[in-house]
């Protein structure tokens, strides 16, 4: 039996101050809590308590690229970033397109115990876009897969996309789409616009995303299924999702912290740390995305945490892999671009980074729960005044490809609890657990 934990005088959701009593992995009291004699007391004045964060878009690279990240190092990065659950994308080697692979990933996550790892299954065998994978087997496996994605590659063939949308209805799943017209983006390196024209890097036009978002919304409407659009990056995609939601199409959408902060101007350094797919867009796109998050058009924030070995980034821009780290910096970036700007409250952050992703991932029986008596103690404590400078060498991820090195972020997760177990405790709070 572990010791009870009292989180004293935290600001729940950033609005009401209360204490939380955690016993046996469950929140057993909220408010003026009596402190049991043997309790661990976390003095939480000035800290914001949120339901544990849930990432719907994570690359853990295991199996296959353990030199870039493992389920263990990725889980540690997640815990440090305030996440209690992550959804691991299927583009591993072997691809997560069978019950065997997804069960292994899920079990390894449980064994490590730093966050729940929910595997996302591949839509097509080997992510090749040719044959549907055995989604039913993955759904009924121990990993209980509900989300399916060929992320990294678009499910491009409209017939396969239609069939996938229909098929997942069998187990109330959703297709998670990496929206990218493959023909329009052959050899593409960065956002197609004024900066790409000058730099001589092949363009990735906004229309290549928007045309697929529009097609998939129409397909989802036609067959009455659910589609989730990953990493929305353009103002035009926002308009299409807004239109689809007005028509009551079952579409949800995510934005990444990097698409809410960085622009294509970063490419002027030719530093592949800024090479990501979809690419960083213009300030007008960033502004539209922020507005869409604030008004609810975009449902969630997801990291698209994409670790890469240094040799895949320390090279020519055109040779470099797409992707950037995100788990440990997401909360700080979101505070910077949404909370500190007044666009969102911490209550909104709880919805965007915990409740809504848990609902879309269908893990809302365990995650994204209210901070209330009787609920599982998945809790993230945020110190919004603990500004820090990102240093790539200090990250828990095995990879080092953060685009935020040297940048100051205004706050961070200082403690993370997964079913009452502290999975991350900031040095400033370690005394309480001694």
């Amino acid at each position: 039996m572990s010791r009870p934990i009292v989180i004293k005088n935290a600001s729940l959701y950033g609005d009401t101050t209360a204490s939380l009593l955690i016993e046996d992995g469950v929140i057993t009291a909220v408010g003026d809590v009596e402190t049991p004699d043997d309790a661990v007391v976390v003095e939480a004045d000035g800290l914001v308590a949120l339901p544990g964060l849930v990432d719907l878009h994570t690359h853990l690279r295991e199996p296959g690229r353990e030199d870039a990240e493992t389920i263990e190092t990725g889980s540690r990065a997640a815990a440090r970033g305030g996440w209690t659950a992550v959804h691991a994308m299927a583009n591993t080697n072997p691809v997560a397109d069978t019950a065997g692979v997804v069960e292994q990933v899920y079990s390894r996550g449980q064994e490590i115990g730093l966050c729940d790892v929910f595997p996302v299954g591949a839509v097509t065998v080997g992510l090749k876009g040719e044959h549907l994978s055995e989604m039913g087997a993955m759904a009924s496996s121990k990993a209980r897969v509900r989300l399916f994605s060929d992320d990294g590659v678009c499910v491009y063939d409209p017939v396969i996309m239609r069939r996938a949308l229909e098929y997942v209805k069998t187990f109330d799943g959703a297709v998670v789409q990496h929206a990218q017209d493959l023909r329009l983006t052959e050899g593409a390196q960065m956002h197609e616009g004024e900066v790409s024209a000058e730099l001589g890097l092949a363009g990735w036009p906004a229309v290549a995303e928007e045309s697929i978002v529009a097609r998939d919304a129409l397909l989802a409407e036609h067959v009455g299924s659910r589609v989730h659009v990953q990493h929305l990056s353009t103002a035009g995609s926002v308009e299409i999702v807004r239109w689809a939601k007005d028509r009551a199409i079952q579409v949800t959408a995510e934005a990444t912290p990097h698409h809410l902060l960085l622009t294509d101007e970063s490419a002027r350094t030719y530093d592949p740390l800024f090479k990501v797919n979809p690419p960083l867009r213009t300030q007008a796109d960033v502004d539209a995305l922020r507005q869409a998050v604030a008004d609810g058009t975009i449902d969630i924030i997801a990291t698209d945490h994409a670790p890469h070995a240094s040799e895949d980034k320390d090279c020519e821009w055109a040779s470099a892999s797409f992707g950037m780290l995100g788990l440990e910096t997401a909360l700080g970036v979101i505070q910077k671009v949404l909370v500190d700007t007044g666009a969102c409250t911490w209550r909104d952050v709880a919805r965007l980074m915990s409740e809504a992703p848990a609902r879309i991932g269908q893990v809302d029986d365990r995650h994204g729960r209210p901070l209330a008596e009787g609920e599982p103690a998945n809790i993230t404590l945020v110190d919004p005044n603990a500004a820090w400078t990102v240093e790539a060498d200090q990250l828990a991820s095995r990879a080092r490809n953060t685009p935020y090195g040297g940048i100051e972020l205004p706050g961070r997760a200082v403690a993370t609890f997964l079913r009452g177990v502290p999975t991350h405790v900031d040095p400033t709070l370690e005394g309480a657990f001694a």
Binding site: R183, G193, G200, L201, G203, P205, Y270, E311, E316, A318
Partner: protein, 319 residues
């Protein structure tokens, strides 16, 4: 000047200094003994990740006429098959003590990365990076234009002149370099290309864009007409082709005798080479007295001597 990476980095006085220095260098090339002792003891590495015999021998001649030691380093690899990494190559050159690295690379930005990656201390001279920049090509073009069309060239800019650049602007580092440099020097630049070969996002470029060569000849008083090389692979690839056929390209964008005769009498014809005779330029135009194409090659050596001199000897003078 530490590096020469992009013509966008050059001020007007930088550019004029390079052109004037090139004029001095060109004058020395008419002497009986053409070799100058200026860069004795300096090591210049020609680092070529992409084959270009013309550019390499031009830089080699320039460095040797300044008495530098020249090492030619041909690195294998492409965007498809990666060879030794840029970083490892740079560290190797640093270990060899390169004072200047002349780099030609298939990847846009490679010269910038080499200069700013912290891997080597020497000066980096961009000899063409992907579809980004080729600054010495545009400097030799500007030098050639100034020599032919400006009455007292020394110290002068290109104010009042109109230069039309015809062809594959989208994939052309020559076009990108020239738009900035010629604009900085006061010339008016007109790009002539089918819309498929004009980059999206061109609006801020300081130039006009027209879509047929005839329109350019009719609407502008062209002083210099620069024909770009058209890569054969842009016309093939079925659904990925940028224009329908070589014949149609030649009809709309090719410089033939008829179009040549409609240019003002003083207008010069330029081409960065190697030419596709019969495609973007007819033999009649290429071999006409208005063609300065062969002279461009000679001027290339003088301009590259000037760039190497200003990067290497100029640095010492400043210390």
């Amino acid at each position: 000047m530490r590096h020469l990476l992009s013509t966008k980095d050059l001020t007007k006085s930088d550019a004029i200094l390079i052109l004037d220095t090139a004029a001095q260098m060109a004058a020395t090339q008419e002497r009986e003994v053409r070799k100058l002792p200026t860069l004795r003891g300096k090591t210049v590495v020609n680092l070529f990740f992409e084959d270009s015999t013309r550019t390499r021998i031009s830089f080699e001649a320039a460095a040797k006429r300044l008495s530098a030691d020249v090492i030619n380093f041909s690195a294998k690899g492409s965007s498809v098959s990666k060879g030794e990494s840029l970083k490892d190559t740079a560290l190797t050159l640093q270990a060899m003590g390169a004072d200047a690295v002349v780099v030609r690379h298939w990847a846009s930005g490679a010269a910038y990365q080499l200069a700013h990656g912290g891997w080597l201390h020497g000066s980096v001279l961009n000899a063409g990076d992907g579809t980004h920049q080729h600054p010495t090509q545009s400097l030799l073009d500007a030098f050639t234009i100034r020599k032919h069309l400006v009455t007292s060239p020394l110290g002068a800019d290109l104010n009042g002149l109109t230069v039309a650049i015809v062809g594959d602007v989208l994939h052309s580092r020559v076009a990108r370099s020239n738009v900035h440099l010629l604009h900085t020097l006061g010339a008016k630049v007109v790009l002539v290309a089918p819309a498929t070969l004009v980059p999206v996002g061109i609006d801020p470029w300081p130039c006009d864009v027209v879509h047929t060569l005839d329109e350019a000849i009719e609407s502008y008083d062209i002083d210099a007409l620069m024909m770009l090389r058209v890569q054969r692979e842009r016309m093939t690839g079925g659904g990925s082709a940028f224009f329908p056929s070589p014949a149609e390209y030649t009809r709309i964008y090719g410089l033939d005798g008829d179009r040549l005769r409609r240019l003002p009498d003083h207008a010069i014809v330029m081409h960065p080479g190697p030419m596709n005779r019969g495609l973007e330029i007819s033999a009649e135009a290429a071999d006409s007295p208005r063609s300065v194409i062969v002279e461009q090659v000679a001027n290339g050596v003088a301009v590259r001597m000037a760039a190497l001199y200003l990067l290497l000897a100029g640095e010492e003078a400043a210390q």
